[in-house]
Symmetry: C2
Subunit: 245 residues, 2 copies
């Protein structure tokens, strides 16, 4: 059985990885490199999101998951389809045209953009065949196509969403400290939060499960570890219709 690509449709994946050590929200990008056939001139040398054509027989979600798995080997991550990008000129600047000819892209390609949430450490970038690399969201390299815009819109969506849904825990390991949660919020929102108030607020949530464990291998006082209980969270939801305009 032959799998057929849909020539004018793709998915692109913004992979967000949070690094607990550097306290940085990162984006995973892959290398785009093209040399001229007749000389040593480097025509294209930058980064893009991972993405691929959609196949005839798969759903959009399946396409996104397939692309993610292909690059990272990971499945079952938090995944959000957040926007479609279809500007007629989205692949039309000089480098993109070169690349598109080389790869036989359709010039009018619409892409369905997803973002994924995980921990930077979950991905082995050293042994990655696509030369994937993490970049802090605040310090992105030269990015091809309209992918910079896609990354920015993914980030805006994440920023809004993390205020109302407990997706922050997708960026943290299973066991984490209160201060780590605070640091993720501070990274994403670009604000500083009062530690005492934040602790009280979070510790009082029923879905925060304190463990009989502390950090190990830290060189200072080890902190109390917690888990997030999605179960308990889901039971609590729908009770607070807080109109906040």
């Amino acid at each position: 059985m032959k799998i057929k690509k849909i020539p004018n449709l793709s998915v692109d994946c913004v992979i967000f990885g949070y690094d607990t050590n550097t306290k940085s929200l990162n984006v995973l990008l892959i290398k785009r490199y093209l040399k001229a056939t007749t000389s040593d001139e480097v025509l294209v040398d930058d980064y893009v999101l991972t993405g691929y054509h959609i196949y005839e027989n798969e759903t959009l979600d399946e396409a996104a998951s397939r692309v993610l798995k292909e690059l990272t080997g990971l499945t079952n991550l938090y995944k959000k389809q957040f926007k479609a990008f279809g500007d007629p000129n989205r692949l039309m600047n000089e480098k993109d045209v070169l690349w598109s000819k080389h790869e036989n892209f359709n010039f009018r390609t619409i892409t369905i953009a997803y973002y994924f949430l995980l921990k930077t450490e979950d991905i082995d970038v050293i042994h990655n065949k696509h030369e994937a690399k993490w970049f802090p969201y605040t310090d992105l390299p030269s990015v091809g196509f309209d992918h910079k815009k896609i990354i920015q819109e993914a980030y805006e969506d994440l920023k809004t969403k993390c205020l109302h849904e407990p997706i922050i825990f997708e960026l943290l390991p299973e066991k984490f400290t209160i201060n780590e949660v605070q640091e993720v919020y501070e990274s994403i929102l670009g604000v500083t939060i009062d530690n005492r108030n934040f602790r009280r607020k979070l510790i009082n949530k029923k879905y925060m499960i304190p463990l009989d464990e502390k950090q190990i291998g830290v060189s200072k006082r080890p902190a109390q570890l917690y888990m997030f209980s999605k179960n308990i969270y889901d039971k609590m939801v729908n009770t607070n219709f807080l109109i906040n305009i």
Copy 2:
């Protein structure tokens, strides 16, 4: 100059109209009707969203606005691209197959779904060539394709969004009463709200501009009219990062 359709790509528009009189959130649907060529048998007789193929030379947003204008004559409405639908089987039930053959649809069509917000009264459904009709969201008719799902997802997005952004005012006339705002919230969220608390909350917002006008033509005590100032609202935003998980 010839305009070319992209055969496997469309936009679909969920048009929400709020009716201040009946206090109902409505959806505008168009008739889908097909008779057999050889007999009088009615093959398809139901409703669908308005939508159309995307043209080669237009953006997704332009396609959605064009489709809306074609049906309603209206422009400059609140518009939100909220999701792409691309299940391989989304047009595959019996009636949809009949219809798709009749209209020469590509069976694997991906649609980019938008919703629009307006007032029911803005549209003249009597003289509409597409037999467009309003249906309360809570009482939809038989709906073709996967459009019921699309409507439901649009509604969920609207429900979430109206809690954090002042889109409620897009559903009301320029001048409105406090009670009308409350009624829209109650319709959309399916809750009842204490009138005294709601009034206080809303009246204290700087973006609520009280007018030197009262309702006219009402048979009871006329209410104070207000306007929403988007200007003032925009200046206030970004001051409250309220983490509400």
